[in-house]
């Protein structure tokens, strides 16, 4: 009796599975469209960060009439406050420093950090364009990078990031905005997308509030905009949205600060769920391990903690011991810091007079500013530093001596830290120190798209007509953990692809 009913249940569920695969089920939620549209364009891009602006530029080049919608009073989203580091395997700066790298090594690093939860096809699409993307920013946008600096974020096998001259993603975004201006693409700020209109035929357009005053719900004047070709979703992540991120990962509650701008909120994550877009891995949310607790947001302290200390110094806890590979991926490092903090220990980033040199060369004046704001402290001896910061001095000296042994042998047998070709022993005064505090930084999950950046339907797995997506709003590129300096690559490569494909559809 039991066996019979179990068998029929299995039969039933298999029949269901076959039906879904053959697409005989109806696609997901549909909405009423407005009786008349207030405006009609070819392509609507939602969001004005790296991805949205790249999409708009390519859509325009493909002949479409494009508008970019941005809810905040300023354009650029989170990208304009981003740290401005771009993975650029094969770039001249890597060659100058004689660094051996390849697309295959980059691909492997991304998949390893992602716990192989990435879609390998997406990763391949991205790494195939790693050099052409760098060249596009230089040749087509006119972005200026530091000509001789090559950096290494955690989880990368070798140094491979270039840095914008102004040390911010604004160095790229402002060039994209200039290009939009040149092409006559309107970037409309204070325009809040309230609904995405999806009918059985596909996505038709959006309903917005113009003159929206963030964060005042319902402010501004309602308007409907029809998109003849489609809508490109580049609405970014939700790190600044405490309720939504706490639903996804309850430990990321209001006690944690975020590196993100206040507009990094979830309303379009919720809206795309509502209209039946496939989403995955939304609870893989990254904290930046290199944040500094003595300032708000992303700030500037991270630049010492990462570029000086993680790359050319060491990280220790208040017991004076190293607690993590300083160049492990961001999740490993952020989790390690949180464990130390849960055990009542603070975490610190330390570099000496030699260790700060590459950072000082990259960012002239920045160290002085960090010292002035008391984000980084400077001491004549390791003893003075340890005592002032509440670190066990004897253990710290022992730890540094051990680390210097690893520098000389170019091998860290304990934590497996990559030893930079240009790393010197940490022994020359003055000594510099900054505190570490993880801050919510990046949403790895999001919309699932096909190889043409078309968003998939939650019930049929088929692309939704007229709906494209790129950037932090999408998932499957980074899997479990995004490597530092790969976000800009992701946003620009897939933003451009989404914009072009939408315009040509």
């Amino acid at each position: 009796m039991e066996n019979t009913s179990r068998r029929s249940f299995i039969k039933g569920s298999m029949a269901g599975a076959v039906a879904v695969a053959s697409g005989s089920f109806a696609s997901a939620a549909v909405a009423q469209q407005p009786k008349t549209w207030d405006e009609t364009v070819d392509v609507i891009v939602i969001g004005s960060g790296f991805a949205g602006l790249a999409a708009a530029i390519e859509a325009k080049k493909a002949g479409a009439n494009v508008v970019v919608l941005e809810k905040m009073p300023t354009a650029g989203g989170n990208s304009i406050i981003n740290g401005g580091i771009l993975t650029a395997t094969g770039c001249p700066q890597q060659k100058m420093h004689k660094i051996q790298d390849s697309k295959e090594l980059l691909e492997k690093d991304i998949l390893v950090a992602g716990n192989y939860m990435n879609d390998p096809k997406k990763v391949r699409q991205m790494v195939d364009r790693v050099l052409s993307n760098y060249e596009w920013t230089v040749n087509e946008l006119g972005v200026e990078y530091l000509p001789d600096a090559i950096g290494q974020e955690g989880g990368h096998s070798v140094p491979r990031y270039v840095t914008t001259k102004i040390g911010s993603g604004a160095g790229i975004v402002n060039k994209e905005l200039e290009k939009c201006k040149e092409f006559g693409i309107p970037v409309r700020t204070r325009t809040y997308v309230d609904r995405i209109i999806r009918t059985p035929e596909g996505v038709q357009g959006v309903e917005v509030f113009e003159g929206y005053r963030f964060p005042k719900a319902g402010s501004g004047k309602p308007k409907s905009i029809k998109a003849n070709k489609g809508v490109v979703l580049c609405y970014g992540g939700f790190s600044a949205d405490v309720p939504y991120r706490t639903i996804q990962d309850p430990k990321l509650n209001a006690t944690l600060d975020t590196t993100n701008q206040p507009g990094a909120t979830s309303e379009l994550w919720r809206e795309t769920s509502n209209i039946g877009c496939m989403q995955a891995q939304n609870d893989w949310i990254q904290c930046g391990p290199w944040g500094n607790p003595h300032e708000k947001g992303m700030g500037i302290g991270w630049q010492f903690n990462q570029t000086a200390a993680a790359e050319y110094g060491l990280w220790t806890n208040s017991a004076g011991k190293r607690f993590v590979n300083e160049l492990a991926n961001r999740k490993v490092r952020a989790d390690a810091i949180m464990v130390e903090q849960a055990n009542g220990r603070k975490c610190f980033a330390i570099a000496d007079a030699n260790g700060i040199k590459p950072f000082v060369a990259q960012r002239p004046g920045m160290l002085d500013k960090q010292i002035e704001r008391k984000l980084v402290m400077k001491y004549d001896t390791i003893d003075d530093m340890a005592k002032a910061q509440g670190i066990d001095p004897e253990q710290l000296k022992k730890t540094i001596a051990e680390f210097n042994g690893y520098v000389k042998s170019k091998n860290d047998p304990v934590l497996g830290r990559y030893i930079n070709n240009e790393q010197l022993p940490v022994e020359t005064a003055p000594f510099y120190i900054g505190e570490l505090q993880p801050k919510v930084h990046h949403s790895m999950g999001g919309l699932i798209t096909d190889d043409q950046c078309r968003v998939l339907d939650v019930k049929t797995d088929k692309p939704i007509k007229g709906l494209y997506a790129a950037g932090e709003a999408t998932g499957h590129v980074h899997g479990a953990v995004r490597l530092g300096s790969v976000a800009i690559l992701d946003c620009l490569v897939f933003g451009r692809m989404a914009g072009e494909n939408c315009a040509k559809s």
């Binding site: 009073p73 300023t74 406050i81 604004a170 701008q261 206040p262 708000k296």
Partner: protein
């Protein structure tokens, strides 16, 4: 209905501004700057942007004037250079705001 609510809020806002006489717009008026200087001859510019402000205020001169403000010069930034919308801080018909303080600990005194 919505529109009338919106207007009511606006007019209340203006009335308060006039009574208290402390907002940026009041100081403009006290110095003899007419409404039309910002809002246009036919009041056609409802929300004036930086293009209106820079007809009188030179951004480069403002950057120079505040170059010693700590911890950061408020009139230039790595994100927006000197082109951030003026009224994000210098709200003219309500209390001024420290826009940078959304993300930074900059204790700017905004007028």
């Amino acid at each position: 209905m919505l529109l009338s609510c919106f207007l009511a809020v606006c007019f209340t806002g203006f009335a308060q501004a006039a009574e208290q006489g402390k907002f940026g717009a009041d100081r403009h008026v006290a110095k003899g700057v007419p409404c039309a200087a910002c809002h246009g001859e036919k009041n056609e510019i409802s929300a004036p942007d930086i293009n209106q402000c820079t007809k009188c205020h030179n951004p480069d001169e403002l950057v120079e004037k505040t170059k010693n403000v700590k911890p950061q010069n408020p009139h230039t930034s790595p994100h927006y250079s000197n082109q951030l919308e003026c009224t994000l801080c210098h709200v003219q018909h309500a209390e001024p705001e420290n826009y940078c303080a959304q993300c930074h600990n900059f204790d700017f005194k905004v007028k």
